[in-house]
Amino acid sequence: MELQAVLMAAGGGSRMTDLTYNTPKPMLPVGNKPLMWYPLNLLERVGFEEVIVITTKEVHKMMSTDPKMKLEPVKMKLDVVCIQEDGDMGTADALRHIQPKIKTDILVVSCDLITDVALHEVVDLFRAHNATLAMLMSKAHEFTETVPGQKGKKKTAEQRDFVGVDQSGKRLLFMANEADMEDGLSIRKSIMRKHPRMHIKTGLVDAHLYCLKKAVVDFLTENKSISSIRGELVPYLVRKQFSKTTNSQKNKDDVDDQNQKKNDGSMNHELLITSRDEPLLQLAQERSCWNDHHGDMSEAYHGGKMRCYVHIMDQGLCYRVNTLAAYIEANRMAPKLFEEPAVHPSAAISERCQMGSDSIIGAQCQVADKTSIKRSTIGNSTIVKEKVKVTNTIIMHGVTIEEGCNIQGSVICSNAVIGRGADLKYCLVGNGQRIEPEDTHTRTHTLMHI
């Protein structure tokens, strides 16, 4: 078997607590499908037959019991591994937890990734160059929609990520976060000597899709200090590409050299997993007249055994739904990913309702006369009464909207009730909340008091 897929669905959604305090992030409806469905669909379309899903017990229960969460379209075998909810477990810790199940190289996907990337581009880099890590990144799009519930323009000073790639744009040379840099960006001279031309990009979104060699998982079991893939493991691997001990110039090493290498960095040794026919591979590489760079005296890959590659998407969808703004944008774009009809066949829509073609109506909905629904997503089993105007809104499941309401640019969570004649602009209504009739709200959060 070539690759095993691992889906990380135990995240808490710490940056959108308004939505996730009641529904766990993997089950949030996007385009009337649970968020988890999108990466699972991507894996299935590409040809995976089995996925290891790491999630919490709550999500597992919801996956299997809740009929409204449509997971039937997924035909793959899901091997669900439940971990504790406490949130101390990072992604790398989760990988360590399932290490006995891992038999080959793995493809780690995060549950909040919505993308239509041609996955073979990432995996081809992994295969062709025998890479240790291959990941996916995308050019970031500005979110143009107003985020509901935000008073005023909040400029989130997100910590920027600096990603350095070589001239071909595929080899990953440098990765650091602004938070780790005190007075500036420092790049080792050895890297500059080997790759004199480096492109440093900051506006990239990390899709959290990684192809990792099996040796990396084994390495994680030895080193329990690494707990997050993105935060710690990936920068570590990128740095270790150019570490002195991983570059052996002439590989006719004698025993002393080997011992020295072992003492220098026992960490590196595990990562340099060699296949059983290493001398044959060496022979083939020696005889091949190919080099990945020109202009200096070193052989292909500068003799380095570890290589990290990145595929940067410039066209196509790639969203990570981890903030409210991303959630709204994803809802807008998600229908492009699947060809199901926008209106579910079991929804009862009356004829005198004006519905835009870019709206999605879920199953068993009831939409009464004289309503106008534009650029919105309406979840399953929602009741919309007469004379309601719904624009730019995301309405989750089981919501009741009484007559005469006017809802604009808002997010209404499950089982909420909007009273008659309410006027909501850019609001976020929490689970099971009830808006009184004739209420007017602009840019407010209304959450359930716990």
Binding site: H120, D124, L280, R287, S288, C289, N291
Partner: protein, 507 residues
């Protein structure tokens, strides 16, 4: 009373009939298999059966003449409806006549694999599929075969120059893997990786490709388990067939790879049926190791030993492109203390000479670097030319990287000796006298170059009359080659068939 037009039509038909009969009588045996292929859609099924049975009995088709039947078929095809019945009748008659000959011929054809071609019945040489891309029937057959093996077929790319329209042309930006499922189940992952490396050029060069192929086969054999009720000797060969088709689609197989595959298949078929699986696998892995050791590593050492005798102090040696064997020879000679300098000649678009230059300079050899357009300028300084080969053909021609025949020609004009270095496992039973019939077309986009921010050929596909041609190989006639250095010794170019015969007898 027939009208004037009808009379004209009758006259035309009679003329065509006569012409056809004459054509058929002349090239009856030679044309039969080609016409049957093209007339297949037109002729009726029962006659096709008998016609195909008569194919093995036909005379061999000389390859240079293969061009002639192809254009002749085209006008015949367009009037197929008119002549279908007539042809069917003629073929039925001929088939009945050759029916008796056909049975004998078929036995001889099956016996071909074991014994050298029987002197009783001449053996037909069918044209390989990879040089019949413009023939839709062959394409259909190829597609069906690939579908059966569950290997995806490549989509052809770009406008092809008409002289080479019978060859495949692919684009590197559309790899075969986009049609494969990601954890590839049908094709072994090691083979997928190898195919990717071939198509992207990461593994390039005849020796490197063979070694990488054998390495991948080792992994395949290791991961192989015999299904119940099957024999390893037969099942493993069947398993290898789709892999080989896949690799062929990624990049056409080289002659060295072909020989290696033949060897492996022979070894697998020779495994006795009572042999246990573990032992059989161990034997096979051992065979592969031996093959690589003997034919590639030790052969390189032997060739180096012979070549060093030919290199004297003060020599100026010209090399072309990056041949792993020639580089090895030069490095060995330098280490043995010979004083010489090297001129590396390079050509676009591959610019492989840069890699050769790097390897030689790293060892300390003093080198000069020129492009092939300057070869007649630099040749008066040269005392010897060392060339590598991709394959040595049975009529003594050397098949090598495009540009090699140019170098050999200019060297001949300047009376500079040309030495070709080639291991015996690259010797091939094919016969070729020109570079058109069987060649490889590389990605045409490689010819596009960006200078000062301007890419002139960016939209070459939009210009209807423009075709980009990126040839990979060419053949050098034996008159230009003075000596071939192989692991069996230093032989003249025309002794290649002798070596092949000796090899066949050995096996």
């Amino acid at each position: 009373e027939l009208t004037k037009e009808e009379k004209q039509r009758l006259r035309k038909e009679k003329k065509q009939q006569k012409k056809n009969k004459e054509k058929k009588d002349e090239k009856a045996s030679r044309e039969s298999d080609k016409e049957k292929k093209s007339a297949a859609p037109a002729s009726q099924p029962p006659t096709q059966h008998t016609a195909q049975k008569a194919v093995p009995a036909s005379a061999p088709v000389p390859l240079p003449a293969s061009e002639a039947p192809v254009p002749a078929d085209k006008p015949a095809k367009s009037k197929a409806e008119l002549k279908a019945e007539r042809r069917a009748r003629q073929e039925a008659e001929r088939a009945s006549k050759q029916g008796k000959k056909g049975e004998v011929g078929q036995q001889a054809a099956t016996g071909k694999a074991k014994a050298p071609p029987s002197e009783l019945q001449p053996v037909v040489k069918r044209l390989p599929e990879h040089i019949q891309v413009d023939n839709p029937d062959v394409l259909k057959k190829l597609a069906k075969k690939l579908e059966r093996q569950q290997v995806c077929i490549y989509v052809y790319y770009g406008y092809k120059v008409s002289l080479f329209s019978h060859l495949h042309q692919y684009s590197r930006k559309a790899p075969l893997t986009q049609q494969l499922s990601i954890p590839s189940t049908v094709i072994h992952p090691a083979i997928v990786r190898l195919g990717l490396q071939y198509s992207q050029g990461i593994v390039a060069g005849s020796n490197a490709r063979s070694v990488a192929l054998l390495h991948a086969f080792k992994q395949v054999i290791r991961d192989y388990t015999t299904p119940p009720k099957e024999e390893l000797s037969r099942d493993l060969v069947n398993k290898l067939k789709p892999y080989i088709s896949f690799l062929n689609q990624c990049r056409p197989l080289s002659a060295s790879m072909g020989n290696a595959i033949k060897y492996i298949k022979k070894e697998i078929s020779n495994i006795p049926s009572q042999c246990k699986e573990e032992e059989a696998k161990r034997k096979l892995l051992n065979c592969i190791e031996c093959y690589i050791n003997e034919k590639i590593v030790l052969a390189a050492k032997a060739i180096a030993k012979y070549s060093i005798e030919k290199i004297s102090d003060g020599d100026v040696i010209l090399v072309y492109g990056c041949s792993s064997l020639v580089n090895h020879i030069l490095c060995e000679a330098f280490e043995k203390g010979r004083k010489f300098r090297v001129i590396v000649v390079d050509s676009r678009p591959r610019l492989e000479g840069r890699e050769a230059l790097r390897r030689l300079v790293q060892r300390g050899i003093s080198c000069t670097y020129v492009l092939i357009s300057a070869v007649s300028y630099i040749l008066p300084e040269v005392s010897k030319v060392f060339l590598g080969a991709h394959a040595l053909l049975a009529n003594g021609y050397v098949m090598s990287r495009v540009g090699t025949s140019q170098i050999a020609l200019v060297a001949k004009a300047f009376n500079v000796p040309v030495l070709v270095c080639c291991e015996t496992y690259k010797f091939c039973e094919r016969v070729q006298t020109d570079s058109f019939v069987s060649n490889e077309l590389d990605d045409p986009d490689d010819l596009i170059v960006t200078r000062k921010g301007k890419t002139q050929l960016e939209d070459w596909q939009k210009v209807d009359s423009l075709g980009l041609l990126n040839l990979v190989y060419d053949v050098t006639p034996p008159d230009f080659v003075d000596l071939v250095i192989t692991d069996l010794g230093m032989i003249p170019c025309t002794s290649v068939p002798v070596v092949l015969r000796v090899k066949n007898v050995d096996q």
